[in-house]
Subunit: 122 residues, 2 copies
C-alpha cells in the first residue's frame, strides 16, 4: 500500500476517493429505525452542499445535475452524522428523514426482500 | 417511466440493473448492531455465489475477480436477508459477521466520522 492510501485509511484528512465519473457512493440510513433508506452518489459539489445545508444532496447521474433530496416533495433527509469508509470511496449518512425516502412513497427504497428467487414486499 | 422500469419497481421479479461494468452496489449491515459494515459491488456471478453459499461474495474491481469476503481471514459475512431497492441497482445485505468486516481490523469499514472538516475515529 502506498503512502497516499495509508494516509487515506488511517489519517484524519477527509480525502474522498472519487471514481472516474467524479463520484462516491452514499448510503443513507434512518437514525431512528436503522434501516437503509437509499443509496445514491455524491460528487464534491454534492458533499459540500450536504455539509453546508445539513440536508443530503446528491449528484443525479440520470439528470446530470445536483439534487437535494426532497427539494420538490419536502421529504428531505436531515443529516445527523457523516461517516466515511476505510478507502474513502463511500459515505454513510445517518439521517432523520422528513418523510418517505423513496419516490414510490415507501419509507425506504429497499421495500422488497429476495425470497426463493422472487421479491416479496416487507 | 417505461413498462420495463415499472415492472422492475413494482414487480416480484428479481431483475438487477447492472451498470456499464456489469455491477450493482451492495451495502452490508450487521443484523445485531444495525451498523453499515461495508459497501462493495456484485456482478451476476457474485450474486449467484452469495445466494448459493449464504456468504457475501463480491466482485473485486481492483483485482478483477470474484471475492468471497473472509475467504482468507475467516471473517465471512453470513447472509440473513437480501433486500433490493426500487430500481434494483443496489442490494442491502443484512448479515451476521464472523469477525471484523474491515481489513483494518475495525468491526466496520466506517470507523471515522466527519466533524468540522476532519475525520474522527469512533
Amino acid at each position: 500500500m502506498g503512502q497516499a492510501e495509508q494516509d487515506r485509511e488511517q489519517g484524519s484528512a477527509f480525502l474522498p476517493k472519487f471514481d472516474a465519473a467524479g463520484l462516491v457512493t452514499a448510503v443513507v440510513t434512518d437514525q431512528a429505525s436503522g434501516a437503509v433508506l437509499m443509496v445514491a452518489h455524491m460528487n464534491q459539489e454534492a458533499i459540500d452542499a450536504t455539509i453546508a445545508t445539513g440536508q443530503a444532496t446528491f449528484w443525479s447521474r440520470s439528470r446530470g445535475q445536483l439534487w437535494r433530496k426532497g427539494e420538490t416533495s419536502g421529504h428531505v433527509l436531515n443529516v445527523v452524522e457523516i461517516r466515511v469508509d476505510c478507502d474513502q470511496d463511500a459515505l454513510w449518512i445517518i439521517a432523520d428523514p422528513a418523510g418517505p425516502a423513496c419516490h414510490t412513497g415507501e419509507s425506504s427504497c429497499f421495500y422488497r426482500t429476495l425470497e426463493n428467487g422472487r421479491l416479496v414486499r416487507r
